[in-house]
């Protein structure tokens, strides 16, 4: 039976790259629905690898061996028979650098829908506006939707990247250090935005520092060198970590 | 709808894959057809004839040595000119010249690379040959020397572009280190930059050789069409005949399948093997140096 509060369940997941380095070892983690789950820890701990496994973007990298299961709505998405295109529409991703596609602002948002075969102008217009509004960008760009997306600021571009994902009405949003290239004001906007919309989605966030992790986490998981050291609700994990290593990292003794 | 788009994507991916492999197919086809038409020459014409020193097809003398020699002599002459000028020019444009000079020189080199060889051959007949005959007081201007000069013009752009690439990939840190030690720019160029780029320069020279040996029209028009083995050092100013020119000028007149036809294809095989050898060696040299550079820099 699938726990209604549980959106994704990771069971004994191990990933090994072709150059022999092991990136993730025997990860078991359950990601709750309609909350922000933060994956944090020092660089090279395997957070991004895990994130990219969740929508099978690792297929593009030199992954040699994957074992274990990732159950999404009860289905193992690592199964070779899974339709990855549909999966990626349901599990969207925002990257650390705001990479806008070399298209107009409008086309960046409508891109995913057009890939699905949606050609009706009215439907696209509606979806683009809804997504831009939800990403709190509409008021800033509504009068220049046809401009190249590269013309807007970095912070706006990152919200455009979010709108691009939201347009597909995903169930899960993966964020890989989404604010690492942004100034503090833009960072605060993105953080506030995600708090506002988290109720309708399931958000998995890899923050770029431990302060952000503590700020954002409803649920948190601490990764160290490919291992899941400890996980639990944010308020307990950051205040009273059980593991000494988590304690050391959270208090800034290493990092 | 999902299904048809999946199927059309499957077809597209297949077409792309097949196109990707087409180059292998074409090289193989070229080899097969050269062998098919050219190998019978070995059965009909005795080896002693084929590798003899007399090319006189009307009397069935099919010795390719004079032609091989002709190709070598013009290529050698061309390289003697093109290597110093080509490398000198690339050093100048990549290490010394200000940008405005490059914005003039580079397009001119590109234009030279794009000049059809028949145009150079035409000017060879009209301008270069009479000029050289007068200047050096020769019986004819249509000689290996004129051919070598034209070939040098044809090989130079190849040498320049590859040498320049090689010089540009030398890490700036090398130059800065030499300059910091008190070397002048000139000493840095010849003591550090050029040696560091030597495998790229070697590749450039090899491809220049390939370009010269394979060149047809310009050489055919100005070398005087004399398939004879020369006897002394004056070979450079005498008329010669290259392998490429022989094929081009005689293939039109032979009967398909005749011994003469087969021998011309056999020369084609020789040219194919030479260019294959040069290109494989060149890519081996540049590949080896690349992995070495990666090792040094990592």
């Amino acid at each position: 039976m699938v726990n209604p509060m549980e959106k994704i369940r990771i069971e004994h997941l191990s990933i090994r790259y072709s150059d022999g380095t092991e990136s993730l070892r025997d990860i078991c983690l359950s990601i709750p629905a309609n909350q922000i789950t933060v994956l944090f820890g020092p660089a090279g701990g395997g957070k991004s690898t895990l994130l990219r496994a969740l929508n099978r973007l690792n297929d593009l990298a030199d992954v040699q061996e994957v074992s274990g299961q990732i159950l999404f709505n009860g289905v193992n998405i690592l199964d070779p028979g899974v339709n990855v295109v549909n999966l990626r529409r349901k599990i969207g991703m925002v990257f650390s650098r705001p990479v806008v596609l070399p298209l107009s602002i409008y086309q960046n948002v409508s891109y995913g829908l057009e890939l699905m075969g949606e050609r009706r102008k009215s439907k696209l217009d509606e979806a683009v506006e809804r997504a831009l509004r939800r990403a709190a960008l509409w008021d800033e760009v509504y009068d220049r939707l046809k401009d190249p997306a590269s013309a807007i600021s970095g912070g706006q571009q990152q919200r455009l990247c979010l709108a691009r994902v939201l347009a597909l009405e995903p169930e899960v949003i993966l964020l890989d250090e989404p604010t690492s290239a942004l100034d503090p004001v833009s960072t605060a906007r993105i953080e506030g935005l995600m708090q506002e919309i988290k109720e309708q989605y399931t958000i998995v966030w890899v923050p770029h520092n431990v302060q952000q992790a503590a700020r954002m986490a409803d649920y948190a998981a601490f990764f160290l060198q490919g291992e899941l050291v400890e996980h639990g609700p944010g308020e307990t994990l950051f205040v009273k970590p059980r593991d000494q290593r988590t304690q050391d990292y959270v208090t800034g003794r290493f990092g | 709808m999902e299904n048809t788009s999946q199927r059309s994507e499957w077809v597209i991916n297949l077409l792309i894959k097949v196109s990707g492999y087409s180059s292998i197919l074409f090289v193989t086809l070229i080899l097969i057809f050269l062998l098919r038409e050219g190998l019978p020459a070995l059965g009909v014409t005795p080896l002693s004839n084929l590798f003899g020193d007399r090319w006189y097809p009307i009397e069935s003398y099919f010795g390719i040595l004079p032609l091989l020699f002709g190709s070598l002599v013009v290529t050698l002459g061309a390289l003697l000119i093109a290597i110093p000028f080509g490398i000198g020019t690339s050093v100048f444009i990549s290490e010394i010249a200000p940008p405005w000079v490059n914005s003039v020189v580079k397009p001119l080199i590109e234009i030279l690379a794009g000049l059809p060889s028949v145009v150079l051959g035409f000017l060879g007949i009209q301008v270069a040959a009479p000029l050289f005959r007068e200047a050096f007081n020769l019986p004819t201007g249509l000689s290996a020397f004129t051919g070598a000069v034209l070939l040098a013009l044809i090989a130079t752009p190849t040498i320049v572009s590859i040498t320049e690439d090689a010089l540009n990939t030398v890490p700036p840190a090398y130059r800065q280190a030499a300059l910091a030690l008190g070397a002048t720019k000139w000493q840095t160029i010849w003591g550090v930059t050029v040696p560091a780029a030597r495998s790229g320069i070697l590749t450039a020279i090899m491809l220049g050789i390939g370009r010269s040996i394979g060149e047809t029209m310009a050489v055919m028009m100005v070398t005087g069409n004399a398939p004879v083995l020369p006897h002394g050092l004056n070979a450079l100013v005498m008329p010669v005949r290259t392998m490429t020119a022989t094929i081009a000028s005689e293939m039109g007149e032979v009967a398909n399948g005749s011994p003469h036809y087969q021998v011309l294809f056999f020369i084609g095989i020789v040219l194919f093997v030479i260019s294959l050898g040069i290109n494989i060696a060149a890519s081996w040299v540049s590949l080896r140096s690349k992995t070495r550079a990666e090792r040094v820099l990592s």
């Binding site: 973007l57 990626r88 597909l168 | 087409s22 292998i24 794009g114 040996i213 294959l276």
Partner: protein, 286 residues
Amino acid sequence: MERSLTSARIQQRIGFSLLGLVTFATVLPVLLIIGFIIVKGAPAISWEFLTAMPRNGMRDGGILPAIIGTFYLTLGTAIFSVPLGIAAAIYISEYAPDNFLTRLIRIAIINLAGIPSVVYGLFGLGLFVLFLRLGTSILAASLTLSIMTLPVIISTAEEALRSVPQAFRTVSISLGATRWQTIWRIVLPQAMPGIITGIILGLERAAGETAPILFTGAAFFLPRLPQSPFDATMALPYHIFVISTSVPGMPIQIQYGTVLVLLVFVLGMNLIATLIRQRARARRQW
């Protein structure tokens, strides 16, 4: 110390001037060639020269059939080599795994680029003219030129595709695009200026080639324009060869005029390629 420093400076001064001279001597012939052909060829150019059939054993009249022929051959070459070349470049840059077969493809392309043009002529004669019985024809000559042009198009197109940032591909895939959708909607449009430049440079070479068409499609003289792809054709490069070596009493002005027309054809393509490259560089967003 002071002395050796200044002598090193003098050495450098001399060396730089010498290399400057070498460079000048390398590019001077190009200027002379172009200038000379324009000066000698321009008087021959007239409306009649460009649009009339040759008369009086080609010693009079125009060179229309050679112009048309070169146009047909270039077009024919484009029809075969452009789709095939782009598709091959897409395979190498976007699909090919790093394995033995891919290395073999690379070696094959390098070798195709190095094979002498007259050997392409032999190959075209053996395969297209004789084996496939296409005869000496525009079709056989175009196919021969296509295979010769292929490596130029593949390698420039591959470079253009590779210069498109990897992040665009990752983002597109993450939004649910398939590999082909990503290539078609994002990668190809971005690489297009580079690809077109490569195509033009390849076709420019094909337009100026003589040796590959000698035995596959070129005709010494034809009293009428080619009617179908199965006809032989006159062509500018071969025509220059013919009138400068095999027609006694050929007026020198017609020879230079013909050379000028070919030069304008070829260098015009070169210029277009350069302009496209510069425009694309100025407008690039990444």
